[in-house]
Symmetry: D2
Subunit: 335 residues, 4 copies
């Protein structure tokens, strides 16, 4: 498969981690121009990726920039101790991330919670906004009385195009023009390629939010190029297409068959073994599409999952942004 | 009591109807510079007020402009037939109101739902936004394919200062700068002076929303002067102060005593008979305040009431703004 | 595959329609002892099944009894006109169903809404209960004043085992002992085998609810045998396993390949072509299971879907149970 | 006023504390047959009342039994540290209360959450049920594997008469007959006489729940006499009548006037000074009633208040009932 095809195909991959996996599988090895570093600590795997060259960007189908991914497979188990640990690690990692990309400790921040209140798997952004520790009004109204250790933070949930009739990007730009933040942190629900990543993964990226990514209607990007302000995106996959479940599962079945057939599984899946991932997904979509089978789906327990992970993100953000918030017990500051 | 005092006192009166009642009671008669017209139809009383002079404005403590009030005492009874009738009348009255103040039938409209999703009596604005029939994105993306009878409508819920850290007025101004509407319709929950008006009254006014009115934190107004675009406000009283319940009730008790005492009730309530309303409210506040008695309160059934009245307002707006929506059966277009 | 295996396998099939499809596929033809009648009217397909013999029951893996299924593929499109038509048809069909199984028009009814308020895809039962037209208290408190055309109806949502610590069946039995209904109508969310049936299908059955069916924890059944009162179950599939999406999709892929390969697709899917459905599902489960891939999933828009279909079921029930409710416009009686 | 009148009047007083205040005011001093003990600790006032004689019961209008009241005026300030302290104290006090009235540490408990999910100020009971730590199913299904320190607890929310058509008392009795608890703990929202007590007060009583108390429709009591099992009630006032705000405020105004008038305030309020509380409330009701002024009201912030206090009650209960729950950090066990 040509790199061009791959890039086109990757347009729909929200997680840099998954884009890298696909690119490596297709190219049989490491992608040039992509640095990566993985650390694991008691159930939390943190992957720091950097796409450094145009070539790497083209192959990955991802912008040049920094990407950090938290993978916590047990996060769906409603273990509050684990949730607190993730929030604490996220606070530390996020604070470092901002310094690494050159954001000062006193930069004014606007948190933008993308998505729709009334669609549970798409409500991540609005729930984070609701739990963010905002201070801008205190800086505006009584600047001399703000306690040390707090920075100027504001937060908005602009809504989705189908409800407002206005592109989120336009709403955010209007608010940026009026409130003049130094940095935007955009929170968004993503689509994943793999069911086990849904509601267990958090991605941080300094590349903003681009048309076509995310699960909503966001044709115009939320990026530094458009808004004139750096944009860090925090995304959590909360949905995936039925077709990607199927395509992904075929890989797992092949691996499973190989393992149990002592290497003699070559061709076990016939045509499915001989075509590449892209073609396979295409095939699955053609088979499912006409019948209403290819919906975006989400786990049955999404109400609880979204609340848990939104609290982790909000707690992590509050502690990362305000030095006064105790970074060893971050959860106390949200409900 | 001097007019100056009255004006100061009236700052807190959200309903023009109540401001007029107070001014008339204090001044023993009609207020100069205020025109008024009342019509009643099967349980729906519509009062059209116009404050035409500076003097009238000063005495009323209300801006020069047009005010229309719907009073529907039975609206808390969950009678869906009555609700449909009110929505239908509201659609007709609102369409006429826009023409009367010179807004064209094709003017682009931005609906602004003020208030807080998570505080039920303050959620009127966001719920109306959710049920508004928005079309702006169709006009932007495929202008030639929009069916006749629809105008360009968008809708946002900017949130409240305590959640966003940014004044609603600033957020709206940013959005107006980007989306260029010809008219803003701002929806807000109000405070009333009388419990029987709570969730039974709808006010339309072409004066915008001024600092100090409403129940939220809105120091900067949402007005034509500030935003450069005409602003029509639709308000529904959903809360009132405990102290105004008490002060108001003392009047009712006096009336009740007079009626049953054949005119001999003069002085029945001692001091409470000899002081005027303003002083009485002051006294009640002093008595209640320190002990946490003077809360804003709302009827116990507020969840249902707010949903019902938000649907009426949204249905009425949708039919008033889009000619294609059947004005004889407006409720079919919202949930 | 032996019938015994099939029965075992079918334990997890909630829809009689799907059980029949599987049995026919496995047995290469009609199942003995199963009568079936299908009618279609403008997008609503109604299938009336009757399992008449022990043999049919054994092969199908379904109890002897009557099953009616509504299939409305367009039901996820939020078309209120279609929703009203489905509710109206459901009312008529349900009223006939009760007569067919010998329930009198004046039988006292207890509606039991199984499931969990706080898990959206499992909230069907509680939402139907909330919108049911209950009258039992009027019959108890002022029996002579109940208007004609209403029968004695009560409704409870017993909760789920994880919240209450008590089997739903035990709670229902306690309530039945006290309130003495003549008939129980149990509403429950189901799992489907096919994504296109999720939130588009309604099943009525006079066999009650059996251990192992449904998506909750209901080890003890809600059946006439246990409760001493006839039980009609109304179920709507709202979730499905990732593994069944995969297994089902392989069929669709095979059909798709055959169609495009002019009959030469034999063996295209290798092993997947040579094993039967049961083995294939087993294989998929083994592949997905260990990695947290095999979750119960639901469409992203579940919040809206569940509200829409719960309103259809409640409207249909209200009109079917009370003659006084206009069966040509059933939706007016619920929100 | 005769004791008989007082008793009749007191039927509507949910809080024993308020009944005592009224009885003392009416009788000019301590009520015979009522023991009382008050302790205060850093903003939490605990009053332990015991009505020991028929005479005390008649005068108070309250059943013979034990009453404990927590008053925490600052509880509406969303101070999570205070909330944790109240939950911890409640756990200790409640554990002692159960021992004092002779309930063993291993008694099986059924928690009954009265009230209505969909009416925020009435949702206390259902929310507590949702957060209760239930274990009965573990004792039933695998009795040998339950960790030490847990007792057998179950929990149900029976709904309200208007939704179910069945008296809550009947539903509870059916469930008691089936699940055989040793003790019922019934949670209910109450009405208060004083706005400052709303959402700041928690009452524990071993007298059960009697017809006419509470704000719902509960004609048949939930008591030991009816159910055959001891019933401890936990109540929180979440609403009050507009008329009681007015009547109560007149007292405060009189006190306020006296304080500022150097004792010369006698007769300041005319008739209102000369009639007793009962007659005054009667007068206020007559004045307010016909106009829809006498609604049950609740503070504007009820959504947050009810969530906070329900979490306190659930946390306190969980720690009181299960020895294994850490009584020094009780909040960790609920969301």
């Amino acid at each position: 498969m040509s790199e061009l095809d791959l890039q086109e195909f990757n347009v729909g991959i929200d997680l840099a981690l998954e884009a890298k996996e696909y690119a490596e599988a297709a190219g049989n090895g490491p992608v040039p121009g992509v640095l990566s570093d993985v650390s694991e600590d008691d159930g939390i795997t943190i992957t720091r990726l950097e796409v450094t060259t145009e070539e790497g960007s083209r192959i990955m189908g991802k912008m040049i920039g920094h990407y950090v991914t938290f993978e916590v497979p047990e996060l769906r188990k409603q273990d509050t101790v684990l949730q607190d640990r993730v929030a604490t690690k996220l606070a530390q990692e996020f604070a470092e991330f901002l310094l690494r990309i050159g954001i000062s400790k006193t930069a004014n921040v606007l948190i933008v919670g993308l998505g729709n209140w009334n669609v549970t798997p798409d409500a991540l952004g609005p729930i984070v906004v609701e739990n963010a520790l905002v201070t801008r009004h205190f800086f505006e109204l009584m600047p001399n009385e703000v306690a040390p250790g707090y920075r100027n933070v504001s937060a908005v949930a602009p809504g989705v195009l189908g409800i407002t009739g206005i592109e989120s990007s336009d709403i955010v730009q209007g608010i940026v023009d009026r409130s003049k933040p130094d940095l935007i942190i955009a929170i968004d629900a993503l689509a994943s390629k793999a069911l086990e990543r849904v509601n267990t993964t958090i991605q941080i990226a300094d590349t903003g939010i681009h048309p076509g990514s995310g699960i909503g209607n966001k044709r115009r990007g939320i990026t530094k190029e458009i808004l004139g302000v750096p944009v860090v995106a925090i995304g959590v996959p909360t949905v995936l297409y039925a077709s990607t479940i199927v395509s992904n599962s075929i890989d797992l079945m092949r691996d499973h068959l190989k393992k149990h057939a002592a290497g003699k599984a070559e061709g076990f899946l016939g045509l499915l073994d001989s075509i590449d991932e892209n073609e396979r997904l295409q095939l699955v979509r053609e088979a499912l599409g006409p019948l209403g089978h290819d919906l975006l789906v989400t786990p049955k327990e999404i109400d609880q999952f979204i609340e848990d992970i939104a609290n982790i993100v909000a707690s992590g953000l509050n502690a990362a942004l305000h030095e006064a918030v105790d970074k060893t017990n971050v959860a106390a500051y949200t409900h």
